[in-house]
């Protein structure tokens, strides 16, 4: 349709379109356009194959106006005309072509005739050739068969020759030690020989080979056994032997036993170091033992003595472990590696695969490694046990670390092995042991420090024995390091030592130490080991040993100097108030203790320390009270009170009592606070004394010694007792100076009272007691918390003396005062 509408005079394209339309018309549709075919179903498509002129016309008539129909018609006519002319042109063109084609065909006909002749000639020639060749092959047939046979014989002979030469070749290989070649040669020949072994000659060869191979195997084994060769050689050896059908089990055993001998040497080397070290160790121990006796002058010197002195053993533990690691562990690793290379990780081939060698070999290896490791471990443990001195923990930790680290290699090589965990066990045990050692070292240190303190306390007393009698506490105090100094130095020494021990122990948990991330070192070591086993135990030890001072010294005359008791009591009290919580906080911080298991609470420890402090202070009071009591008791018991002279002086023993009390007061004041005392005026000695002497005494004495009124004494003293509280003589004291002094004075005066009651006095005896009591009254009130206590007890003493007096005529108060003023 489009073509119909386009004008016909557009040259090449126009023509081609026409071509195509013609083609189309004649069904020469090379392109096969489906769309066109679909279009062409339309009966109105003038170019389509289903064109129905009737329908088309009807359609046109119905759709178009007349004008349009006219136009359409003229257009149609124009198109038909152009189509006709096109057709004419085409016909002309094709005619010419057809003519020339006819000419060409004719020419070809002539050429083919000539060619046919030549072909006939050729086929005749070929037939002649075929015939000729058949003839030749017929003649050559025989010879070919012969040659084939000959070449077969040749190869067989070559094989036979190989077989016959085999023994010699093997021998030569043997000579040249080309074992691999020999084995491969033999392997090639083996099955043949096996197959033809019924023939005598082959039999001979086989036997020969056998002998030679036997020899070879022997040599290989020898080589294997000698060992000196490198691992590569060895593995070659094993490979060859395996190929020679040597039983793998035996080989494993041999390999291992061979390795064993080398380890044996290593282990013996290690053991030798062990064996001689005890000798030097005891030597060192002896030296150390003599040390503290010879120069334990000050606490500082003791810190360098016994437990913290480095051991003088031959090799230190690091060297030992190093040696163990480098020699034993590394060669063990090598052996494991090469063994695995040889027996376990080998590519399996042929019949070897069926024997399940790896499993068997692996089992053997495990047993082997386990036994060796066990021996190694026992040596290491023995060595660790020798590590008694606690001087340098870092050495031990480094040694253990190295030990542990090197064992990790084994765990990598031998995944299922128990060896590394056993190694960890050893480390754990060593750590535990270490803690114990540190504890005992701390304890020894504590004891040594106390001995030093004791000596420091005792020293001036020996040098200035006479001076201290006259000068009291003051002079002796000047000559010695004072109690507070001793206390602070002792407490600092202990604390520093504890800190250094903690620092040493802390090395076990350092980040760069391989075993520090083991569960034991993260949990139990910190809480149960360091906190409980070391710190808490040590604090408990201090309390306990302090308590022992109270018990052991109590009966047998007080071997512990009272000053030491006082010092220890203050130490325990300091521990209670601050040191314990400080130490424990420090420990918890350093070790990040996670308390999985219940641990001793700080309060319990503090309570224990307080109890110890209390006990020590009570004991101190008791001991000091006893010392003064003994003086008073002796003075009362040894004197003949009936026949004594009129008193002119205060007895020396009373002065001594006051002096001693004063020096005790000074001593206690150095360590303990003043304490509370009941209020009294500054000149209370005068005032209360006057009350005591004038009013009360006169009331008491005047009537009581007239026979008519014996009741009054009882009544008065009973009334007095009614209002005064019961006095517990040996009662616990408070942690202050006044309470301590009160306790001591109570004990002394009560003793005085009881002794007086056992004696009988003459007139002057009573008066002497009066003088003495007044003197005590003058001086003792200032020390006690409640001066009424002193008054009461002294009243009782004088009253009892009066009651025990044959001729009770008391001295004038003014005279007593004069005597006492005179001193």
């Amino acid at each position: 349709m489009s073509s119909a509408t386009t004008p016909p005079d557009s040259d090449p394209s126009q023509r081609r379109r026409v071509h195509s339309m013609l083609k189309h018309y004649y069904g020469l549709n090379e392109e096969g356009k489906v769309t066109e075919q679909a279009e062409s179903l339309d009966p109105c498509d003038i170019n389509g194959p289903h064109f129905d002129p009737e329908v088309y016309l009807n359609k046109l008539r119905m759709e178009c106006s007349l004008g349009e129909l006219m136009d359409h018609e003229s257009c149609m006519v124009k198109q038909i005309r152009s189509l006709d002319s096109d057709m004419q042109t085409l016909v002309y063109e094709n005619y010419n072509k057809f003519i020339s084609a006819t000419d060409t065909i004719r020419k070809m006909k002539n050429d083919f005739k000539k060619m046919e002749d030549e072909m006939d000639c050729l086929s005749a020639n070929m037939a002649a050739i075929t015939e000729f060749s058949a003839h030749i092959s017929g003649t050559l047939q025989d010879q070919h068969a012969q040659i084939t046979k000959l070449s077969g014989v040749h190869t067989l002979l070559r094989k036979l020759q190989f077989l016959f030469e085999l023994p010699a070749r093997l021998n030569k290989c043997l000579e040249l030690q080309a074992y691999a070649q020999a084995v491969s040669a033999h392997r090639r020949a083996r099955c043949v020989l096996q197959q033809y072994s019924h023939m005598p000659s082959f039999r001979g060869i086989q036997d020969d080979c056998h002998v030679i191979m036997e020899q070879l195997a022997q040599q290989l084994r020898q080589k294997f056994r000698d060992g000196g060769s490198s691992a590569k050689d060895l593995s070659e050896c094993v490979e060859l032997l395996l190929q020679l059908d040597e039983p793998a089990e035996e080989l494993c055993d041999k390999f291992l036993s061979h390795a064993q001998s080398r380890f044996e040497a290593d282990l013996q080397g290690l053991e030798a170091e062990l064996k001689d070290s005890p000798v030097t160790d005891t030597g060192g121990g002896l030296v150390q033992k003599t040390n503290p006796g010879s120069n334990p002058v000050s606490p500082s010197s003791s810190s360098t003595t016994n437990p913290f002195l480095s051991p003088t053993a031959g090799t230190d533990i690091l060297e030992f472990i190093d040696r163990g690691c480098n020699e034993f562990v590394s060669s063990l690793c090598l052996v494991i590696a090469s063994y695995q290379e040889l027996f376990i990780n080998r590519p399996q081939e042929g019949e070897l695969a069926s024997k399940n060698i790896p499993e068997m070999a692996n089992g053997k290896l495990h047993v082997f490694v386990d036994t060796l490791a066990a021996r190694y471990f026992s040596l290491v443990e023995r060595r660790i046990q020798e590590e008694k001195g606690v001087s340098d923990n870092s050495l031990l930790v480094r040694a253990l670390d190295r030990f542990h680290r090197r064992l990790q290699a084994i765990s990598k090589l031998l995944p299922g092995s128990a060896v590394p965990s056993q190694g960890t066990e050893i480390v754990v045990r060593a750590a535990r042991e270490r803690i114990k050692q540190y504890l005992s070292a701390l304890q020894t240190f504590y004891h040594d420090s106390l001995t030093d303190v004791r000596q420091a306390l005792a020293a001036p007393r020996q040098s200035a024995g006479g001076a201290s009698v006259s000068g009291g506490g003051a002079t002796s105090k000047d000559a010695t390091p004072s109690l507070p100094e001793l206390l602070t130095s002792l407490s600092n020494f202990i604390l520093n030592q504890l800190k250094s021990v903690l620092a040493s122990v802390h090395l076990f948990t350092a980040k760069d130490i391989t075993f520090s991330n083991k569960p034991y070192f993260k949990g139990e070591f910190c809480s149960q080991g360091v906190r409980e086993g070391l710190v808490v135990s040590f604090i408990k030890f201090i309390c306990q040993s302090s308590r022992q001072y109270c018990e052991s010294a109590g009966d047998r005359g007080g071997s512990t100097p009272p000053a030491l008791l006082l010092l220890l009591s203050r130490l325990c009290l300091d521990y209670e108030t601050s040191t314990i919580s400080y130490i424990l906080t420090l420990t918890d911080e350093q070790f990040l203790v996670q308390h999985h298991t219940p641990v001793t609470p700080v309060t319990a420890l503090c309570a224990e320390a307080r109890e110890a402090a209390q006990k020590l202070l009570n004991h101190y009071v008791k001991v000091q009270g006893l010392i003064i009591s003994q003086m008073l008791r002796k003075s009362v018991e040894t004197r003949d009170w009936v026949n004594t002279i009129e008193p002119r002086n205060v007895r020396a023993v009373m002065k001594r009592v006051v002096e001693d009390t004063t020096s005790i007061d000074v001593q206690v004041g150095l360590l303990y606070e003043e304490g509370v005392r009941k209020a009294h005026s500054s000149d209370s000695s005068k005032r209360t004394f006057s009350v005591y002497s004038s009013s009360r005494q006169q009331i008491r004495y005047a009537p009581s010694y007239t026979p008519s009124a014996p009741m009054d004494t009882n009544l008065l003293s009973n009334i007095h007792k009614l209002f005064s509280e019961r006095i517990d003589i040996f009662s616990p004291v408070e942690f202050n100076k006044v309470s301590v002094l009160t306790g001591i004075i109570k004990i002394s005066l009560k003793t005085f009272l009881e002794c007086v009651r056992l004696r009988t006095f003459g007139r002057y005896g009573l008066q002497q007691i009066q003088v003495d009591c007044h003197y005590l009254q003058m001086y003792l009130w200032r020390f006690v918390s409640d001066e009424n206590l002193v008054h009461f007890l002294l009243d009782e003493i004088v009253g009892s003396a009066a009651h025990r007096c044959l001729d009770p005529s008391p001295m004038e108060q003014s005279v007593i005062e004069v005597i006492c003023e005179r001193g």
Binding site: D555, V642, R726, I729, S731, T760, H803
Partner: protein
């Protein structure tokens, strides 16, 4: 003279107390007074258990102040005293055997104004003459004997006396002397009721010594038995090797004389010197101690008694409401414990004694002359008995 109380004030200083050893019917104690200026007396204290009453009779002891008193085991009228006598400015403690006048019981239930009523005087049987040996510390009767043998401890001598002619004559049968450095002086002693009454224990200073009376030689010595002076001793009545001691170190110690290095047990309950220790005569777990802290402590030492396993009885059906001031602490039958602490005294208690007639009764005497009689708590008594 009738007190509806368990205590009586004798109104005299006193240290010496004993139960009347031969009297097994009446609960009776003897107290000797101490006075340098007045006539001294023996107070006979009778306790009426049913009416809870204390009756007192007085006998005159004009020889001197009494330091120690002890009743004859055979004749309840006979007793010994150690008394101090001052002559020419010299004080000497002597010992004598006395007889109570037979009429004391009839005419004597003295009226309150005892000064007007002239008390009767003790009849002197004989002196235990000690002029050669020095002051006597105590006199001991042979336990369970016939009242004819006595021991007196004078300074450092042990004197064994035989009483002859109805106790009117005393003769030294044998002596032993303690030798050693310094001035040794016996403080107290006890005649052991075991071993056929052939053993004696003495105390001097801090040591306890055992003596064999047949050979008059020392058989054991516990040096430093106490830290300070040993004040009293008593033998366990049922266990022959057991001995209790007390002293100035405030402790009461129990000894097995076969193993003298360490005490079997040690109590430290008093807060001052312990002056007296007494085993109950029949139930040796009951122990009485008196101290100069004015307290008397009754302890139950079951674990080292002759009945260490006791009698197991439910406590529930027992009531001890009547014993008002006694707290019963001994609930577990096998636990050593303090049964009660008696704080009725106001002065030092120098003597405690169990009654002979009633084993559940005891008396304690303080220096101010107050005598207190107490009972073992009923609950404990039933627990021991049942």
């Amino acid at each position: 003279n009738v007190n509806k109380k368990n205590n009586i004030d004798l109104k005299k200083k006193a240290r010496a107390l004993t139960a009347q050893t031969a009297e097994t019917d009446a609960i009776r104690f003897l107290v000797g007074t101490q006075s340098l200026k007045f006539d001294n007396q023996i107070h006979i204290i009778d306790f009426d258990d049913e009416n809870n009453m204390i009756n007192k009779s007085v006998l005159l002891h004009d020889a001197g102040e009494i330091w120690h008193i002890s009743g004859s085991p055979a004749d309840k009228a006979v007793l010994t005293t150690c008394y101090s006598k001052t002559s020419e400015s010299r004080v000497l403690t002597c010992a004598a055997v006395w007889r109570m006048p037979p009429e004391w019981e009839s005419g004597n239930h003295e009226s309150p104004d005892d000064s007007s009523n002239n008390p009767q005087t003790l009849e002197l049987l004989c002196h235990l003459d000690n002029t050669a040996h020095g002051s006597v510390a105590c006199v001991l009767w042979e336990p369970m004997g016939d009242g004819k043998r006595l021991i007196s401890l004078a300074e450092n001598h042990v004197l064994l006396w035989d009483l002859q002619e109805s106790s009117t004559k005393a003769k030294i049968s044998s002596t032993a002397t303690l030798e050693g450095k310094g001035q040794l002086k016996f403080t107290t002693g006890k005649w052991s009721p075991h071993h056929n009454s052939t053993q004696l224990a003495t105390a001097n200073d801090t040591a306890i010594r055992g003596w064999d009376l047949r050979s008059m030689s020392q058989i054991y010595c516990i040096e430093n038995a106490h830290g300070q002076l040993v004040r009293d001793l008593d033998f366990n009545p049922n266990k022959q090797y057991y001995l209790a001691s007390c002293g100035d170190d405030c402790k009461v110690k129990f000894w097995d004389v076969r193993h003298i290095n360490e005490p079997v047990k040690c109590l430290e309950e008093h807060s001052h010197w312990v002056w007296s220790v007494r085993y109950n005569h029949s139930h040796d777990q009951l122990l009485l101690t008196g101290s100069s802290d004015s307290r008397v402590i009754l302890s139950n030492m079951v674990s080292i008694s002759s009945e260490p396993f006791g009698h197991l009885v439910d406590d529930d059906d027992l009531s001890d409401n009547e014993e008002s001031q006694q707290e019963d602490k001994g609930k577990e039958p096998l636990q050593d414990s303090i049964i009660a602490t008696y704080e009725e005294h106001e002065d030092s208690v120098y003597a405690v004694e169990w009654s002979v007639a009633d084993p559940w009764l005891f008396a304690s005497l303080s220096y101010d002359g107050r005598l207190v009689i107490n009972r073992v708590p009923r609950a404990l008594k039933y627990r021991i008995l049942l």
